[in-house]
Point group: C2
Chain length 108, copies 2
């Protein structure tokens, strides 16, 4: 098959999985980290920084943008991408809820 059976799961479970999938590539982690550090972020910077082709980086940026994890403004010729604070907080909350649900000592 190859297609995830999302209808079997709750929307929270699907949402968590989607967010995790967005983070499930080192290039996207690197993009996010770079965006956090440099406060502003341009595609052409990342091509130098990461060593992936421009088309590839553009594709990774789009995945993050589709999930609204980042947002982009046109800045003359280039783009200014940055993290969406509201979404970032939402994601953090979802992840924390998952991690904090575990009492740390229920192993069999």
């Amino acid at each position: 098959m190859g297609i995830t059976k999302k209808e079997l799961f709750t929307s929270e479970q699907n949402e968590l999985a989607s967010v995790a999938k967005a983070l499930a590539h080192p290039a996207r982690i690197a993009i996010i980290q770079h965006m956090i550090q440099s406060k502003t972020c341009i595609n052409s910077d990342l091509v130098q920084e990461l060593g992936l082709a421009q088309a590839t980086i553009s594709q990774h940026l789009r995945e993050l943008k589709d999930l609204q994890i980042i947002q982009g403004n046109i800045e003359g010729v280039s783009m200014c991408y940055c993290i969406n604070p509201e979404k970032w907080n939402e994601i953090r909350g979802l992840m924390n809820a998952l991690f904090d649900a575990y009492p740390l000592s229920n192993c069999c």
Copy 2:
């Protein structure tokens, strides 16, 4: 291509991405949540609970086990899977480090 160029990234970035990938499926989220709640976990329970085929669940369990997120003990005929507390803490730390690096107000 289809193959991730891990050599371009730091081991921390690759580790974070691997962990995120393990969580990037609603069935694996559901498995983990079920494991947290029931304190002990058996494959045949999950087949009832999740509505996926036994082989599929076994495969998801293996992915989580390969990353040492869960561990399994043989309990007679059945298996007792549970979360690995050390790894869980490690993952939580990695994720928190990522989330906390963002000052929440650096949007352009």
